[in-house]
Amino acid sequence: MVEVDIEVDSRGTFCPMPIVQINKVAKNASSGEIIRLMATDPGSERDVPAWTQKTGNELIETTQNGDTFEFLIRVK
């Protein structure tokens, strides 16, 4: 079980908000910290992996619970 350091709740917002929010938090976080991002934007399922890939952060896990996507991200 991964221990979450920071929670980001983007539920109810749409593109580009989840990416803008996670980016802002990740920029201010320390390397190795784990962020849990929760989002309901259906685009986030592909957008978050695209963001982690381009920024060098690590997407550890993606889970879907109903309409909510949950992403665990390790800050680079």
Partner: protein, 139 residues
Amino acid sequence: MTEPKKLAIIVHSNTLDKLYPILFLASTGGAMDMEVNLFFTFWGMNAIKKGGLDSAALPGLMRIGTGMMKRKIKNTKVPTLTKLLEMARMTDQVKLYACSTTMELMDISKDELIPEVDGIVGAASFLSIAQDADVQLFI
């Protein structure tokens, strides 16, 4: 880390339906560590005049639907254009350039532009950035 990817957009329009996609891309590009360059020309110049983003409307006959669209945008929790630009700028990756010729043609002075504008430039400056850009768009 490799050289950042670059996005260059010529912003030719100042209608709501064009400015939203432009600022969605700019704020997301900035969040993806891309270097984003927005070149405002012709009608696009109105978007970087003080108060310009707030007065952006839908194009042509659709203009009458602007209020309805703005309410829908608000209800969907999509930020205003001004707020989106602010978020884009907070990434420190998004640069705004004003076209010098358009300023002359439209009698726009530097003082009328929002302070976020990074420079007043011509075609050569845009081309020199666009040549090395990975994505170039005209909107």
